[in-house]
Assembly symmetry: C2
Homo-oligomer: 346 residues x 2
DNA sequence: CTGTTAGCGCATTCAA
DNA sequence: TTGAATGCGCTAACAG
């Protein structure tokens, strides 16, 4: 008497069930399902399709994955201390871009929020359900590098979003938007309008892209204008306003505030109002990324449009190429940006 | 000579590789990995762990899934015509709540945006990588019901978010926030402040929750106040403002505008300003859901706090229970809400 | 054109 | 305490 494994067969129908009902072999069913019609006669195919419909059969991913050694999914991993890691519209747009692109090729998107390095360790001990992943990391450069190195140990195709991979990981690709140019264009506009002293208001939680924007602003200003820096609480909007307000009161010769993103730009608008400064005549304000918020103020915020959605698409394409072995060298994509006009600079 | 299958073994290490290196059987490795220490000697366990580290072994999900007939993942499916289906902060919070809860039990979250019914058909033909899913659907009730019925054919655990499942699907659970109470409380406040005529500004893209808010407002007002309705373009903020502005100009006796969400509340604030109406003395304004936006206006928007994040967590728990067979009857959870004060009603 | 065989990685069962 | 056998659902390769 043969030994019996105790694995209950799935309640879901399998190829075998369909094959039995249609009176064909499992391979024939597989061929029909996967559109290999050259290998199946029309009449048989019809019978198979009928059986599929009758049983409400749908291929099971785990079997296919095991056989083909592919998970047919990509991951999006975000390292951010706030539990609402998905709240940032930037991340949201990247996720939508990835999900929509992947849907066209039968892949899925798995999202992962990690609040700290410990969560990363936990994640890494587990098995993964994807063939490659994109990663967005907040925090200081040193910590970010640590994260990238750790993730690289997974030996999975990986693309870094909005940051430069560390130099000792030459095989890792990246996609960034051209924030150097974006911030530079904003500074030019402000200087054109005779700004001599500009405050760059960043979020306290460091994002690499915001650091780049700040650095680019300084570089673009050169000796023509002075750029000050302030880091503001990110999750407490009221606090951000007060921090900028305090700064404006103690530095009354400030001509403009550049927000590291649109939220901070909006905070600056309100800070100006509390100081009795009219925008743009007495204080100019800019934002960055121009998602939903950009139009929420009056006058509307001058900002820079972000290709975050397109970044999601490009990242996905790069990962798919890497998975299929068409990757070649690591690529570093720089997506163009453009200024979105708004009354906040006149 | 034995036939050889052409399936290349994975480049990733498997239990077999670890077993060979540690000079034990695969089962011993499996037992160590899964913490079944009662079945393994300490010395052997240490040897296994060393081998695991050396090979950088991580269990492969596909094998485990196939064996246990579980995918260890849940899905979040959103039906919304905009490609930026994830942009709404509501969805974002639900996703974060799900993802964070699932991370604690070793599950993953897969997100799916569907722009129309055709995309739904495409999705349904494919194999799934999850054991159950939550669904948020926009559109008219009739279309929504059609979607729920179709999805129910998957025979997977399913929970509807922010809508009532159709009566002929008694096995489907749901989670809603108590928008009847929320909208009612807002109306009470407005009537307390002597509002007689109130405009409810909804988005043109129908969401069931917004319909409920509108209906609850009418019910709460009774004969004490008149509730008018306006549907506004959702993605074009400037257009929303103009639509509300037009309405206010032609109905000067309006006392208050209730926005179906905070974006619409903000649009109403700007429309008021364009009409020269001061808020709240000449026109009161409320929003709904109180995510990021609520504080963006001056005065801040009176709104209703949404437990969207908690909904994400509850939905996940319900789905996990259903998957584990602890489900019992269909449950219909109603999450409490509370009013968030703001200067926009005085 | 259709069927048979084999094995992907894992965990349950039973034997040693 | 450890090992061997078995099969979950699927598809490449080959045989008929």
């Amino acid at each position: 008497m043969a030994k019996k494994s105790a694995v209950g067969r799935s309640s879901k129908p399998s190829l075998k069930d369909v094959a039995k009902l249609a009176n064909v072999s499992v391979m024939t069913v597989s061929n029909v399902i996967n559109g290999r019609m050259a290998r199946v006669g029309d009449e048989v195919a019809a019978r198979v399709r009928e059986a599929v419909r009758e049983l409400n059969y749908r291929p099971q991913r785990s079997g296919r994955s095991l056989r083909l050694q592919k998970e047919f999914a990509l991951g999006l991993t975000v390292l951010h201390p706030d539990r609402r890691f998905l709240d940032d519209p930037y991340i949201t747009q990247v996720a939508a871009g990835m999900s929509n692109f992947l849907a066209t090729i039968g892949y899925s998107l798995m999202v992962n929020g990690l609040r700290n390095l410990k969560a990363l360790d936990t994640l890494m001990e587990r098995s993964f359900g994807y063939d490659g992943f994109a990663v967005m990391v907040s925090g200081e450069r040193e910590q970010r590098v640590q994260v990238y190195k750790k993730l690289a140990q997974l030996k999975l195709p990986m693309v870094v979003i909005q940051d430069a991979p560390p130099p000792d990981l030459p095989e890792v690709s990246s996609v960034c938007q051209d924030d150097g140019v974006g911030a530079g264009m904003l500074v030019e506009r402000l200087i054109d309008k005779r700004a001599k002293r500009i405050l760059f208001a960043a979020s306290r939680q460091v994002w690499p892209a915001m650091e780049r924007r700040a650095a680019a602003a300084v570089a673009a200003a050169g000796k023509r204008a002075r750029i000050d820096h302030l880091s503001c609480s990110e999750d407490d909007f009221e606090l951000s306003i007060r921090q900028i307000e305090t700064w404006l009161r103690s530095h009354p010769n400030t001509d403009a505030v550049m927000g590291g993103n649109d939220q901070l730009g909006l905070a600056a608008m309100q800070a100006a109002e509390r100081c009795g400064l009219s925008v743009p005549s007495e204080l100019m304000v800019t934002g960055y990324n121009a998602f939903l918020f950009q139009k929420f103020s009056k006058p509307t915020l001058c900002s820079v449009s972000s290709p975050a959605y397109e970044i999601g698409q490009e990242v996905s394409k790069m990962l798919i190429d890497l998975i299929n072995g068409d990757g070649g060298e690591a690529r570093h994509l720089l997506m163009p940006v453009s200024v979105v006009d708004g009354g906040s600079i006149g």
